[in-house]
């Protein structure tokens, strides 16, 4: 990955994963959403068939979309054909780069099994990222998508991204106004006054049926 003019004017570089920030609503009712954005490894990747050289390909065995850096001619056509803007031209190598799902890590047998995950999943301090097989119904990710309402980005294009996003989780309690103050509080000042008046208020007869 290139890092061009890192300490100079106009620094630029290639990213596999960008974390963007969006603000929802208007002040003071706003929420901040941090939005990680990488290649979504679509099930129907529109970037693959347009490649004139065959450098872009989707692996049969695991569905990872990759670029063969030795075949890419840097024509940028695949970047036009990705609605998410996941592909970026490497300014030094002059070939297309994109998230590889850390294909070198996830199959590396020299790593302990629990570390055979993409670097972004490993490094996320809050474990917000999950990694697994979306085609396996019982995998952690499939369950999360199924149970927690996972969704795809820009579903209108029919690209069927394998990467799903989970809705933000919030802790909410629902309180009705009448729950804040008891209407029939016998210990309230008014109730006590009423009850203490002779001949008024509930007697034992009102409470129980003999």
């Amino acid at each position: 990955m290139v890092d061009k003019n890192p300490y100079d004017a106009n620094p630029t570089g290639t990213f596999f994963n960008r974390v963007q920030t969006f603000e929802i609503g208007t002040y003071p009712k706003t929420e901040t959403v941090h939005f990680p954005k990488s290649c979504l490894h679509c099930e129907e990747p529109p970037c693959v068939p347009v490649c004139p050289t065959g450098a872009s390909y989707k692996r049969e065995e695991d569905g990872i979309v990759l670029v063969d850096y030795d075949k890419c001619i840097g024509c940028k056509y695949c970047s036009w054909a990705c609605p998410y803007g996941a592909r970026e031209l490497d300014e030094q190598q002059k070939v297309m780069k994109k998230c590889t799902l850390c294909v070198d890590r996830i199959y590396d047998e020299s790593l302990p099994e629990e570390e055979r995950k993409p670097a972004c999943v490993m490094s996320c301090p809050t474990s917000a990222r999950l990694f697994g097989d979306v085609h396996d119904e019982d995998s952690e990710v499939s369950i999360a998508i199924r149970e927690n309402g996972g969704y795809q980005l820009m579903p209108e294009w029919g690209t069927k991204p394998a990467n799903h996003y989970l809705p933000r989780r919030k802790t909410r309690i629902k309180i009705h106004e009448d729950e804040l103050e008891r209407v029939d509080n016998p210990l309230s000042k008014e109730e006590r006054k009423r009850h203490n008046a002779p001949g008024e208020g509930p007697s034992l007869d009102d409470m129980t049926s003999w």
Binding site: T12, V19, Q20, F22, V33, W80, G85
Partner: protein, 330 residues
């Protein structure tokens, strides 16, 4: 989208080259099938084909500047089953060779009839080669247009009008160049080409306006809600992952003000359509000599410059859905 000059030159130059060949062959067909009085001007076909091949070659040369790794360009013919770009890479040299062969057949005088049609028209080698080159030319037009037309995310391009406009604009500029060429060589075909150039320029104008009207009414399929999956009408970007721009901010934005884009629009309407139309109609009134060459040459130059502006606008007009993720640095 960001209009890259390499692509602007590629598409306008090969379009003009293809159009010029179509003009040559149209002239030949009209004469051979006795639709107009026959002239014997082999030089015109030879030089015309040479100019056409030269335009295609310069266009091909320009296209290399678009590539990050031009030394690997040969690989791009591999995926013709799926990629229109790959198909164009194959169709371009075929067209070039077919037009060169057509010119060579005229140069070597291969005009004796090989067989006769029932109507008594002699079919010679130039006609057969011209027919093949015409098919190749149209195949190249379709490939070039479909490179843009097939990307469904770019709704401004995803229409049959894209291919139609590439064909019509290329043909119109080719016929205008044929008019200038024929005026320069003093052939009798100048008025014939001028009338056809007027016809194609007018038709192209109508279809280009049609595509502009269509694009004005486009409702983008993607919005902020589907882009980040949060259903709210007030989503604002606060950070885009880098401070100083990236490939995503350079490749998909033209970076010019709306007034600049509008100016380019009026410039191309004026230069690519109105100016050549007036000049070509003027040329119809001039019988012969230097002045008809000057007028038609100006028409061809104005139209080519206009088409460069048209192609710039074509790119600038297309809004890529990824731009939703790159609205502001904050």
């Amino acid at each position: 989208m960001h209009p890259a000059f390499s692509v602007l030159f590629l598409t306008t130059l090969i379009g003009a080259g293809q159009g010029l060949f179509l003009a040559l062959f149209t002239g030949q067909i009209f004469q051979q099938f006795k639709l107009m009085p026959e002239q014997h001007e082999p030089d015109f076909y030879v030089i015309g084909s040479a100019v056409s091949v030269a335009l295609l070659l310069i266009g091909l040369f320009a296209s290399f500047f678009h590539l990050g790794r031009p030394e690997r360009a040969w690989r791009s013919a591999a995926q013709w089953r799926t990629s229109w770009l790959s198909r164009e890479v194959i169709a371009l040299p075929i067209t070039m060779f077919a037009i060169a062969a057509y010119g060579a057949a005229h140069y070597f005088g291969l005009t004796h009839a090989l067989f006769f049609t029932p109507g008594g028209t002699g079919i010679d080698a130039t006609l057969l080669l011209g027919l093949f080159a015409t098919i190749a030319t149209y195949a190249l037009f379709v490939c070039t247009g479909m490179i843009y037309g097939c990307i469904r995310f770019l709704q401004e391009w995803h229409t049959p009008l894209t291919v139609i406009n590439f064909i019509l604009l290329g043909t119109a500029s080719g016929f205008t160049i044929a008019t200038a060429l024929s005026a320069w060589m003093g052939t009798e075909l100048t008025h014939f080409y001028a009338s056809w150039a007027i016809f194609f320029t007018l038709t192209a104008f109508v279809f280009r306006i049609a595509s502009m009207i269509r694009n004005r009414k486009i409702k983008p399929k993607s919005d902020m809600n589907s882009a980040i999956g949060v259903r709210h009408s007030g989503v604002q970007q606060k950070a885009q992952g880098s401070m100083c721009g990236s490939f995503n901010t350079r490749e998909y934005f033209h970076g010019k003000k709306a007034t600049f884009v509008t100016t380019i629009k009026y410039i191309f309407i004026f230069l690519a359509f109105l100016t050549p139309l007036v000049l070509l109609i003027m040329s119809l009134g001039i019988s012969s000599g230097e002045s008809i060459f000057v007028v038609s040459l100006f028409a061809a130059i104005a139209q080519y410059l206009g088409l460069l502006a048209e192609r710039w606008y074509f790119f600038a007009d297309a809004r890529h859905p990824q731009n939703l993720y790159y609205q502001q640095v904050s």
